[in-house]
């Protein structure tokens, strides 16, 4: 242990602790800008570049960056001496001197870390005048880039490279021309980007933001010739409340349904319903592959989940040789869209193009998934618009509603009822657990002795287990972060030495609850933990907790699809993947 004082307070911390961490462990909050950490999720951005966290260390000539300086025995640290405050203010004033002065119209207004830092330091004017850096704007279907606002914290670059191993973003050029950009400064959409959007989630300012589709949805609602239905993903209901001042982990399912109805959606449905449907299809597909494998037939194992659209794009771009391994089941968003346009539209008495399907997602990649050509018929997408959790919150406020005042209401039928297995899709390991609940019972014909599979839960980036399915040892793995997913795919390339049968992949920290469309957590991983606890609370509170017992799911198979992985479900509920890699072709 190391003894030191911070602001004259004697403290003791383990060796190797930074001054920043030592201070925070002892209730002293040193401001930061570039530093970003997701505690317990193996992500830290610590370039020591912004110098906002500088502190005075007795006996040291220069101020020290607290985020990048380890504690030493006998150290005396001052975090708010006149010299420190002066330096800190100067640093922020210099950053502001090359920052657009458009806070009022900025997407990040109220959520911006530079804005709150400016307020905290009491900066009233910018004494420095000089050139400002400008860069062209760029956008994918999910992510909008305005590099004029970039403060070069490099959080996006770390997220993209270290956590996701996508490698789309890098610091390029030098000095005043320096910018974070894709290779050759091409558009993000032409790079290796998979639209996971985590660069947006970690950006402290408005340099990286989401593509806003609220006005499209408002227009559709206002159009009398259209019937507009909405579906809401599992992770939204445990995070939306944060936008209305509720504590993280508050479950707002009923209030959200009520708010959606008051926004003018004709029918309010649930992606949880189609998550149950996904389990029926994906679980059946897994059992089918396993049976073939046991019969000695050539079959692709392990099977990977295919719910996460960033992950789907990732393997299409990086592992075109392994496209037959992931499940062919569409994501719950995609399945809902297909059911709505094919089964629901005739029931509601409207043509498919007059039924507008809106999805509310914790995710930005879903905005790109919805636009995939193969998920449309004659140019009419199965899902017409995707809003993130944050956009839904904006829309609720815009329409003079307050989530806190909403009554508890139910979803509409028949695409509204769901089980506990569906809601846990929102957390890492949830799809696996839901699939196990169903696969076990469908395969053995027996009732599970215990519904919960604790092996698949928690925040470890890679979880492995062997599940006993009536004597058959099913080897599973659950990963989040695409860097972990990459390692799994590389194992498959090496012949699957660990003998996995089934692997769940989610791109975002902790799964969809940590998605890029969720309320900003600003690196407070406790918020993501609370959302996960809420997900499992919601599961426990459900009267039905296994997808294959959902009466509305059983009914649609009875009435429409026949059986899971049958002919019609293959046509509507399954998809295929494309080689999207960039190969350098050799010419003679």
């Amino acid at each position: 242990m190391i003894n030191l004082t911070i602001d004259n307070k004697a403290i003791q911390v383990p060796e190797g602790t930074t001054i920043l961490k030592a201070a925070r462990m002892n209730g002293i909050d040193i401001p930061t800008l570039c530093h970003f950490e997701l505690d317990g999720m193996n992500f830290e951005n610590k370039p020591g570049g912004c110098r906002v966290c500088v502190v005075e260390v007795k006996g040291r000539r220069n101020l020290a960056p607290a985020c990048a300086t380890d504690v030493m025995e006998g150290m005396e640290v001052l975090t708010h001496s006149a010299r420190v405050i002066n330096a800190r203010k100067t640093v922020v004033e210099l950053i502001l001197s090359d920052h657009p002065n458009d806070c009022l119209q900025c997407e990040k207004n109220g959520d911006c870390e530079l804005q709150s830092l400016t307020k905290r330091l009491g900066i009233k004017e910018i004494p420095f005048k000089g050139a400002t850096s400008t860069y062209r704007k760029d956008s994918t279907l999910s992510v909008y880039r305005d590099m004029d606002k970039c403060v070069m914290c490099r959080r996006c670059e770390s997220m993209c490279n270290k956590f996701m191993s996508v490698g789309a973003l890098s610091g390029v050029n030098r000095g005043f021309q320096a910018v974070v950009a894709p290779a050759f400064e091409q558009n993000l959409g032409d790079s290796s980007c998979v639209n996971c959007g985590q660069c947006v989630q970690v950006c402290p300012v408005g340099a990286l933001t989401l593509v806003d589709n609220i006005s499209d949805v408002l227009k559709a609602i206002a159009d009398p010739t259209k019937k507009v239905v909405v579906q809401t993903a599992p992770a939204v209901r445990v995070a939306l409340g944060e936008e209305f001042g509720m504590k993280p982990g508050e479950i707002v399912t009923g209030k959200m349904a009520a708010a959606l109805r008051r926004l003018g959606f004709d029918q309010v449905y649930d992606t949880d319903w189609s998550a149950d449907l996904t389990i029926m299809e994906e679980g059946t597909e897994l059992l089918g592959r396993l049976k073939k494998a046991l019969a000695g037939e050539e079959v692709k194992l392990p099977m990977f989940t295919s719910c996460c659209p960033a992950w789907v794009t990732f393997y299409e771009k990086n592992f075109p040789d392994l496209l037959e391994y992931p499940s062919t089941a569409k994501s719950p968003q995609g399945m809902f869209g297909a059911v709505a346009k094919n089964y629901l539209a005739p029931k509601l008495g409207v043509k498919r193009e007059d039924l507008v399907v809106v999805s509310i997602m914790p995710c930005l990649a879903k905005k790109s998934e919805r636009a995939r050509e193969e998920l449309a018929v004659n140019g009419d997408s199965d899902v017409n618009y995707t809003l993130s959790t944050r956009e839904l919150a904006h829309m609720i406020r815009q329409c003079n509603l307050n989530l806190n005042d909403m009554p508890e209401e139910d979803f509409d039928s028949p695409l509204g009822q769901s089980t506990g297995a569906a809601v846990i899709f929102g957390a890492t390991g949830g799809v696996m657990e839901a699939a196990l609940r169903t696969a076990y019972e469908l395969h053995t014909g027996k009732t599970l002795p215990k519904v919960e599979f604790h092996e698949t839960r928690g925040f470890d980036g890679v979880k492995e287990a062997t599940i006993d399915i009536d004597g058959f040892p099913l080897k599973i793995a659950v990963v989040y972060s695409l860097a972990n997913a990459r390692k799994m795919m590389e194992q498959v390339r090496q012949g699957n030495p660990n003998g996995y049968h089934f692997i769940e992949v989610m791109a975002c920290p902790g799964g969809c609850i940590g998605g890029a469309g969720q309320p900003y957590h600003h690196g407070n991983s406790e918020i993501i933990r609370k959302r996960m606890e809420a997900i499992y609370r919601e599961d426990e509170g459900k009267p039905i907790r296994k997808s294959h017992e959902n009466p509305e799911i059983l009914a649609i198979y009875e009435e429409y699809y026949g059986e899971p992985c049958g002919h019609l479900s293959h046509e509507q509920l399954h998809t295929h993947y494309f080689d999207k890699s960039d190969k350098v072709e050799a010419t003679k």
């Binding site: 894709p182 790079s191 290796s192 960039d582």
Partner: protein
């Protein structure tokens, strides 16, 4: 980016260089240095191959190429011209000399003439300050330059 094309021979040269550095990501600058030595410049497709061979994102390779002024994505001409803009040359009128080269060749700094014959660049000091202002064409040094000497120098390289 659409699929890009590069001759098999060039790909093999890059592969050999990467291999000679053990295909280690940490050797990226050395690899780029040698590859530029072979090709004279580092176009996008070459950077793609380097990235692939070292197992790092191409954005990272481009980050390095765009950071160091030594690396260039522009092809060099048959006769690369470098104008010294160091302090001594600058105060003795190097900028006017540079302008004369730009006019005579109809080319911007960092670019190559359309016939591929000359490329124009600037540098900081070649250690011949006594001859300021100085320019180099290939390895040959020209000193005490004035704008009216420029057409004569270029004419020396007209075959």
């Amino acid at each position: 980016m659409a699929n890009i094309k590069l001759s098999e021979e060039k790909i093999n040269i890059i592969k050999e260089i990467a291999k000679s550095f053990g295909n280690k990501p940490g050797e990226v600058i050395n690899v780029l240095h040698q590859v530029q030595g072979k090709f004279g410049y580092l176009p996008a497709e070459v950077q793609e191959i380097v990235a692939h061979e070292l197992g790092i994102p191409v954005s990272r390779v481009y980050g390095i190429v765009s950071f160091y002024s030594f690396f260039t994505m522009e092809p060099k001409g048959k006769h690369p011209i470098d104008i010294c803009l160091g302090t001594a040359c600058y105060v003795r009128g190097a900028e006017k000399v540079l302008d004369a080269f730009k006019r005579a060749l109809n080319v911007e700094v960092g670019k190559c003439t359309s016939d591929g014959k000359f490329s124009l660049n600037t540098l900081r000091c070649v250690g011949a300050c006594g001859l300021a202002p100085v320019a180099m064409v290939g390895d040959k040094v020209y000193g005490r330059l004035t704008p009216d000497l420029v057409p004569g120098i270029i004419a020396e390289y007209n075959d």
